[in-house]
Symmetry: D2
Subunit: 358 residues, 4 copies
């Protein structure tokens, strides 16, 4: 093993560059993974633009597929050479949050055990995955072996996109026969469509404006699509449901517009499941909130992580219940990651997700 | 039975007056109840002030205790002369909302079966309970016999105050060992304290500023009280919880201040359970919402109704698990209801709830 | 409308015969339905054989599709001439059981509101559906309009088979990524397979021995099938799951063998969801029960009814999410119902379900 | 620190003796605890009698209160000298079972991550707590600091008795207003009474025959007590509930009699929550099971562990919501533990629990 590796690091707003970095030492609970495939997330673009602050010099990225290069001295149950995936969120397993069923808010380092987004470490508080190697903390909690018959690309959505999108449906407690609207059909919204279908929604309405995305949404389970440029999506959805509204709306963008439209289309007793990362205060119009008397829920979810989550998501892929292969639209070498950022951050060429291979 | 009865009717903003009205005819599914005790709700004051519109001439009030005077031709399982209570919300039992577990949003008259607040009929869409008689629709769904050993006053909180306050705790899914903050300790907030205790919260923090209310809150289960005039309640609660925040906050007033403070004190993964009736748009500050990544829930509840709910709440009273007797602070004859409105709407003399007896 | 109708009535063990009967009067909450399609259930065969006692002269059958002929005087929201379906279980909407979310155990006529199987009335405590007309009680709770584009046969499984089979998956709280075994692949077991798939199970193992049934199970979602004649199904399932066992087992026959095998294949923390109608005491072997320390659940379900349930199930059919058309294998005129019973009760000719049309 | 310690070890059926043993080495994730108080459990008596097999030479006991003597090299967040408690069940935090919300069935050492009772290690698969020192595995998951104002004895029920008893109520999903019967009022049954009250049950019926136990049950929340020597407890409970039955029965003994009586008293739709450790096959009488059509649940629970559970249970004690001090009836020095076993295993002198102090 060499002493140095290439890594995409954050320098300053507007600049993520590929540089050499030392390959990290492996602590007793860690595993060093040689990345074979990773990807760029919308959150990474927020980081690039300086909208989400991280430390200068931090390696970016939180979606790893790779090979175990070296295991920590206290790690059992794995072998070096195994192909594994880890979630974007890497809970410790021992925080109060973890033991409370809320591991994405892991607060292992805090006195009381809960911390907003505390489970998100890769490319946020520790070096991330857009590199030749990544150190996975709490390896026994987070490493999940990849079945031989699944390719890297097939499982590349598991760490974040699929886990987050599916959690939008799960947090909404979708039941058999529900009608669900999904606002914004980027990769996460598309996975929310697939998740809602997988949980038994029988009427799924996808909202976007890009024809390719609407088409993929149909393949993944959308029964109707609404182009918000063709008219107010709230009115279109109320018309499609004959005035009833939807049992659940899933918001997958993070804007006042999608948040508010979601609130307006849910029926009395319905749920707004919010996945987007917001960058401004939100407004709840009184009329969209039944003055607080509508028996409604607004629920937010951060990507669930941990090896059991990864195992289950890979099970979905292996079973053929959801085919997410259309989500990887472009492929780059790690050496060309700056080009990949350029394409992805400008949403050119119909890009949904890019696969990055060292 | 006489042909006429006295009833407190809405005339115009600022005027609720006692007038004679015909005693209504009894349809096949109805029951005519001779009111023995009723009360005035904060919502009635909104109506009085013109803040919540109802039809001119409507009888106000939605909290009935009384005697069955006459049963509809299709009603079975009850006897005339029985003492009964009915919830403020009177679901039909046959709407899609009812069959979906969301009976407060009963939409029996709508095509699709959900309607915001559709289950609230007394003193809203049909004549209410501040009268000598009230017609209870869908009597078999709504009438619950009062056990002999409970007085009218003992069960007077069941139809609305206790049902609503408890639902604040129930919708928050309180678990054994939870820490809960309750914002605003009027009658509903006080019942939320009692409900949170009844579900196993072991640290309950009541927030108000009126010493009598804080004292009653302590009796009903508050372990700590926070006087918001003595400093920012968010800071006080964070200090009391050593920075951890609360598992659930219950909002019982309906203002931006209490809503926002509730959001700010819940831990990552925590729930804001909102009971208040809002009269303005609400704002969700980005910092109070973890940018949508805190795994939080905001849930609103309308008072659950129906005879099973009433049976259970009377069971709480009968068991002595919660003693709400301190909530009835004043008593008036129906003839003096205008004086009762004057006292109650101005919150004079430490009033919490008034008992009205024809 | 004629005064008489043909009806399949129970005479004595071994004899269900077609006879003339008066068309019933319509009470205020009833609806008279002209049956256009109905079917025979395994339960009816139990009645035929005298294994489940019903009153002599009772019309058998509990799965109605038909046209509203006449509405009771207090029924609103429907029109005569509408095509409707009603569930096998017809809750009243006003019992404590209904208001408690347990409407199949409706005890409207009892003092306390719960009664085992109290919601099952058709062909059990009141005249059933194998006739030219049937009286539907509590019509507003139970009648669900059939969308025009769905045929009678397409919705014929909704009243019982699909509702029961799906409830097997629902009561097991299937989650995305679960592994599920379904024991016995008659019509209900096949619907349990479809229901488990619809809720996100990614590995479904069907257990039976009839090749046609195993083949249909595969089409409806079974990823693996186990022929119990080819060896102990417990061993086969443990081998398929590499010793892990299943998250949930669904029992759809009602025998000691399937019950016990279900217990033996669930993992620690797993659920046995039982749908079968048992006719003997059951034994729980200590070894299959981890001495009571396995964090296991055994849950039984009776077919959920009511119009909202029917609406949702028809939504499943309409969406194409499950295609149950293979379940109707034979068709008979009502006049030939005795032949249909003969075929069905002897399970000849690969019969799964028969459609009966007056 | 000395090299040797005293420990109560299993020699052979009938013999648990106090012997010298080396103080164990501390691995990276472990903590060595100097026991200040521990106790004997009914399970230990099963071990003593040879009814539950453990390895010869194993230190018995699974209920530790003590002082951190030494922390493993990878353990952070604690200090040596801190007073702590750990649960009887010590999950790893990193098994699939843990990550699935089922940590008592921790299967960290298995391929697939679930193992019956796998989380129970103390005095079962590793050395236990009836000793001067105990090694706590996965210390960061399991050690919970004891608040200064709580005595050892006050928290002594947390590791097992209280956690198990409360889980009986939690697994039954007790709701406000429920009626609950608890069968057998030993320490765990008494805690089940307290737990049911804490979750909002308003009618709790305790079943036993020892007057002292019935009296303590009343103090902890039982509204009625049934002496099973005074007549069939099923009949007595049905009479007390006017034929309705109970919403939930909690079984806390582990015999056919209590299991069957529990089944017979639950209402349609009700739950039997089983806590007992069974030693024989069980029988489910057809008549007690509504032939599988009663919408009933049978649920078993193993004592939940982990530091968050301990924190919450100590919160219950600290809040005064439940006063379990009456449960410790006798006190012994570790040197006299053989006498303590003699007293406890013969249930002499009204013993409920004994406190053992080295």
């Amino acid at each position: 093993m060499p002493a140095k590796m290439k890594a995409a690091i954050f320098v300053e707003p507007g600049r993520i560059v590929l540089e050499d970095k030392p390959i990290p030492d492996v602590g007793p609970l860690d595993a060093l993974i040689r990345i074979t495939t990773t990807t760029i997330c919308g959150t990474d673009v927020h980081i690039l633009k300086g909208e989400y602050p991280v430390a200068r010099g931090l390696t970016i990225g939180h979606e790893p597929v790779g090979i175990i290069e070296k295991l920590g001295s206290a790690v059992t149950g794995y072998q070096e050479g195994q192909r594994v995936v880890a979630g974007a969120i890497t809970p410790s397993g021992h925080s109060h949050a973890c033991l409370c069923g809320c591991s994405s808010q892991d607060g292992a380092g805090t006195r009381h055990g809960f911390k907003p987004m505390g489970g998100w470490r890769f490319g946020n508080t520790i070096d991330g995955t857009q590199a030749e190697y990544v150190l996975v903390p709490d390896a026994m909690v987070n490493l999940s072996p990849v079945p031989d018959h699944l390719s890297d690309e097939q499982v590349l959505m598991c760490p974040d996109i699929m886990s987050t999108g599916f959690s939008g449906a799960e947090s909404a407690s979708i039941r058999i026969g529900d009608t669900v609207a999904v606002f914004a059909l980027g990769p996460i919204g598309l996975c929310a469509v697939a998740g809602a279908k997988l949980m038994g929604a029988t009427r799924i309405i996808g909202v976007d404006t890009v024809p390719e995305r609407l088409a993929i949404a149909r393949k993944l389970g959308a029964d109707d699509v609404v182009d918000f440029r063709a008219g107010d999506p709230v009115e279109q959805i109320m018309a499609l449901t004959e005035g009833r509204g939807v049992d659940a709306a899933i918001e997958a963008l993070g804007t006042q517009g999608t948040f508010e439209a979601g609130l307006r289309v849910i029926r009395p007793g319905g749920t707004l499941s919010s996945l987007g990362v917001y960058s401004t205060d939100l407004r709840i119009p009184l009329s969209a909130f039944s003055a607080g008397l509508g028996d409604n829920r607004i629920v937010t979810s951060l990507c669930p992580g941990g090896k059991e989550r990864m195992r289950r998501l890979m099970g979905v892929i292996a079973s053929g219940r959801a085919d997410l292969s259309a989500l990887v639209t472009h492929r780059f070498k790690l050496d060309d990651i700056e080009k990949a950022y350029d394409l992805f951050s400008h949403q050119r060429d119909g890009v949904l997700k890019v696969a990055i291979t060292p």
